[in-house]
């Protein structure tokens, strides 16, 4: 018997019903996406859109894969891996200084990063566009990576500093007595001890970058540098009436996250809520 939810009373029937209703609300659109992506093109126009397909086919997935899906997938993966890798390294370094250096400048930097959390990223897209054009990076993957790094820093630093504060100073002091430099302490103490936080931040940042839409929409143009979320939108234009193919692309685009969810649900949830739940 769980006191938290039942209060020592009979099972909560109204709560259970309401929860089941929301479950249906959640599931039906996802069921629709799956079922439609498995239908032949003709059946989409005829039958009940929520009915189980009379004939299951992966043809729609084939049509998506024939249309450069692998390239877009690769672009997204590349942008995500590079962005997250750089963000993790430089944010961890910055967090180490913020936590261990008592100087005023470290404090000032910390506040500056915290400010970044409250700014809606979308609102800076015009100057970012200007900057990227001036740097001659328009329509390249680097145009997505560089601002992507900058906008992932604030939340990453917030979470990592929270975590690093819990490392006891006695550990640092012991290493200082052994004559270790700050670099050595970073490599041999900070890096190994903050693995769980790095994992959570990495997942959070990766999801943001992987799902990002506005930067690719504004900062790229040609299909060679197209990333997945943008490709879904362009598929919608290209395939027009071929909705099964559009939804097959939607399914394919979420497979990496689904895989992460199945393999490490706990870490994924921890990563998503990292820094927000206390």
């Amino acid at each position: 018997m769980n006191l938290r939810t039942t209060g020592g009373q009979a099972p909560n029937a109204i709560g259970g019903l309401a929860a089941t209703f929301w479950l249906l609300v959640t599931i039906v659109p996802i069921y629709y996406i799956l079922v439609t992506s498995l239908k032949p093109r003709q059946e989409y126009f005829g039958a009940n859109p929520l009915a189980w397909p009379r004939e299951l086919t992966f043809a729609a997935y084939g049509r998506v894969l024939e249309n450069e899906f692998a390239l877009y997938f690769f672009n997204s993966a590349l942008v995500t891996v590079v962005t997250v890798g750089v963000v993790l390294l430089i944010s961890l370094l910055a967090s180490y200084v913020i936590v261990r250096n008592r100087g005023a400048f470290a404090k000032f930097s910390h506040r500056l990063f915290l400010l970044g959390i409250a700014i809606p990223i979308q609102a800076t897209i015009i100057p970012v566009y200007y900057l990227i054009v001036q740097l001659g990076l328009y329509d390249s993957l680097l145009a997505l990576i560089l601002p992507g790094i900058a906008f992932a820093i604030p939340i990453s630093v917030l979470i990592l500093t929270n975590f690093l504060r819990d490392i006891p100073s006695s550990l640092y002091e012991a290493m200082t007595l052994d004559g270790a430099s700050h670099w050595q302490m970073f490599r041999e103490l900070v890096l190994p001890l903050s693995k769980p936080a790095i994992m959570a931040v990495g997942i959070y940042d990766a999801l943001q970058v992987w799902n990002g839409f506005l930067f690719p929409l504004v900062l790229t143009q040609s299909s060679e540098v197209r990333v997945l979320p943008l490709s879904l939108w362009t598929y919608q234009g290209e395939f027009a009436v071929d909705i099964p193919a559009v939804l097959a692309a939607v399914v394919l685009s979420c497979l990496p996250i689904l895989a992460a969810y199945i393999i490490g649900r706990r870490q994924l949830v921890a990563g998503l809520t990292a820094g927000f739940s206390k």
């Binding site: 939810t5 929860a19 100087g103 400048f105 979308q122 200082t176 839409f213 979420c254 206390k278």
Partner: protein, 311 residues
Amino acid sequence: MSTLTAPVSPPPAPARRRQRRTTTDGPSYWMLAPALAFFTVFALIPLLGVAVLSLTNWDGLGTPSFAGLANWQSVFSDPVTLHAMWLTLAMTVLTYVTQAPIAILLGVFMAGSQKYRAVYSVLYFLPLLFSAAAVGIAFKALLDPNFGLSNAFNVPWLSQDWLGSTDLVFYVLIFVIAWCFVPFHSLLYQAGVKQIPTSMYEAAMLDGAGRVRTFFSVTLPQIKYTVITSSTLMIVGSLTYFDLVFVMTNGGPGNATRILPLDMYLTGFRSYQMGPASAIAVILVVVGLVISLLLNRLGGADKMESQQEGA
């Protein structure tokens, strides 16, 4: 604009290696430099730059030229933008009053230990697998007047032009936004509720408090900070529902769903009026910052700070 980097570039720090220091010395500022440089160039300068650009004429291709306050005047007299402001306010309020109660109740439900609740929780997570763009595209198909839900069960009530009707489309968007974002917020609440000590519930039970009473006098006060965090994210987030609306309606029909971020994008990147678009962006930044600060104060600035810093 490059001169702006000067005040925040790291001061010369002694980088003498292998020299023993006292612990108060701390690691060199050079380790802070890469993060600070990226943040300054691609976030801080654009943040200041958007204010500068709001005072210029620029078509997105040539060189911006100074225009004074003309863009601001045009933004505040443009009926489309004024309408967008109104829509954004309505959307912020409506998405909040729908999402917050559902997310809180769902979070409490998910924190329960019954087996079926764990199974439900696994399924509640599923919308988080999709990007906002993907969600928009899927719902656009599902709500298609000819081949979507309208065609499903021969129920007249379901046969609507969900995204084509000026009266309906706004509420449909609010529903889709809730579908998309409630799972994330309910996860925050689930984590918050799980941290409430069981002894508090035992005490409430001994006092004879019912389920509703317990919720309002134990659960809700105990998750106060989660409420503030989640509310801040929801409200500031409502200024940025760009992807979803862009993909689903592109502001239409007419201007029925042209919310402020979309108005900024369309003014800037479709009408090539970067000046007015920058003015709209400044409004978004200011409103976002003010709301964050206000909600911070509401929760007690010190406590919020200590919570943020993990104390």
